[in-house]
């Protein structure tokens, strides 16, 4: 239970409430009701927050997929969310399951402030710890990836006493050339065409405005102030049903 009492808005119910000394008008009562509702809402949310902090587990975040070119370096990021403060005993561990294999092997472990990098497995001499555990970041860097590194990487983080939670997976795809992501080119073409359309419309209106202003200033200098009232008022046509006809 959250420690400390929530200060209940006793002042609303005291006998020295300012609104009781004069005639309680309609708006005063409604304002009072609103205050009561707001305080009840605040109380409920604090209670729920207190309960929630005891029941939600640690949540681990990684990317969904990573795509990389052969021979490049890939940074697999891993972070977590926990209601508790980051403890000094926080642990990160990474497992790797190659595509088609059934078992995952452990490739990285961080515990007690020391990162333990794989020295015997497929990533020996190719992995580096680039995370910052005090900032809840447990990312690793894989150098010079190859096609054999295709697979699923699992990150598991524990933040004592918050240890219940499920690990998160990130799939690594290694390509010879990176394919275009879905929708990028579609969006680009549509954006360019619509942008050109808006640009043309804007330029057209700008030209019309400039030409009209030049004509106006020329006619002003010619005729003085005589013809000022007659310009600019167009006749509005009556909106009866318009008819169209075809002629070549």
């Amino acid at each position: 239970m959250p420690s400390g009492l929530i200060p209940f808005p006793f002042h609303l119910f005291s006998f020295h409430h300012p609104s009781l000394s004069r005639n309680p008008s309609h708006t005063d009562l409604r304002g009072e009701q609103r205050e009561i509702m707001l305080s009840v809402l605040a109380l409920t949310s604090v209670v729920l927050l207190g309960i929630a902090s005891q029941t939600t587990a640690i949540v681990v975040y990684t990317s969904w997929e990573r795509h990389a070119l052969v021979g490049t370096d890939v940074r697999l990021s891993c972070s977590f969310f926990s209601w508790q403060w980051t403890s000094p005993d926080v642990t990160f561990s990474w497992h790797y399951r190659p595509d088609g294999a059934k078992e995952a092997i452990s490739i990285f472990h961080y515990a007690g402030g020391i990162p333990y990098v794989d020295t015997k497995g497929p990533f020996r001499d190719r992995m580096e710890f680039v995370g910052n555990p005090s900032r809840r970041d447990g990312s690793i860097l894989l150098k010079n990836v190859d096609f054999a590194d295709n697979g699923t990487f699992t990150c598991d983080a524990k933040n004592p006493p918050d240890i219940a939670g499920s690990p998160s997976h990130v799939r690594l795809f290694v390509f010879e050339k990176v394919p275009v992501q879905a929708g990028v080119i579609t969006g680009a073409i549509i954006g360019v065409v619509l942008g050109l359309l808006i640009l043309i419309v804007a330029i057209y209106y700008l030209m019309r405005f400039l030409v009209a202003r030049r004509v106006f200033s020329l006619s002003m200098s010619k005729h003085g102030r005589k013809g000022k009232g007659k310009e600019g008022s167009q006749q509005k046509q009556k909106p009866k049903v318009p008819l169209v006809f075809i002629s070549f």
């Binding site: 275009v180 929708g183 579609t186 969006g187 619509l194």
Partner: protein, 157 residues
């Protein structure tokens, strides 16, 4: 003359509906147990119907963009037609409406051409074209004729 107006609007709306159906319904290429279109490839394998997102190749995305642009331009042209109907002076031509409609038809044409030429990359050779593909190719002359009609149309009081 009101009949002419209704006929022109019906023609335009028909073209627009064909464009919409062709873009949305998944039937550009049909096989006995699979159909695919611009967005997904759906197959029925041993009673299970599942859909995967389509290839993310450059050309299929270009076709997607062309179809969407043609729908957008056709909508804009319909909107402009009603605007110009009430604001044009007597004897004026619906040039802007016609221009947008012709642009829409050109986009459908580009999309259809790209799909027909490049589909050897993502469609197996023995499958037949579906009705959405045919609708797209019908929508092109419909939209083109509609655009030309707008260009030669004049407003009468």
């Amino acid at each position: 003359m009101l009949l002419l107006l209704m006929g022109i609007v019906v023609l335009h709306v028909a073209g627009l509906v064909l464009l919409l159906v062709s873009t949305i319904v998944s039937a550009w290429v049909i096989n006995t147990n699979s159909r695919s279109d611009l967005w997904t490839n759906c197959t029925t394998v041993s009673g299970v119907y599942r859909c995967d997102p389509a290839d993310t190749g450059v050309w299929i995305q270009a076709v997607q963009a062309m179809m969407i642009l043609s729908i957008i331009f056709s909508f804009i042209s319909l909107f402009l037609f009603f605007c110009q109907l009430f604001t044009l002076k007597k004897g004026g031509r619906f040039l802007l409406t016609g221009a947008f409609q012709i642009l829409a038809s050109l986009f459908v044409m580009c999309g259809g051409i790209i799909y027909t030429v490049m589909n050897s990359g993502w469609v197996p050779a023995k499958e037949s074209y579906g009705f959405s593909f045919i609708l797209a190719w019908i929508a092109f002359p419909l939209a083109f004729i509609s655009g030309v009609v707008y260009v030669i149309l004049r407003k009468r009081e």
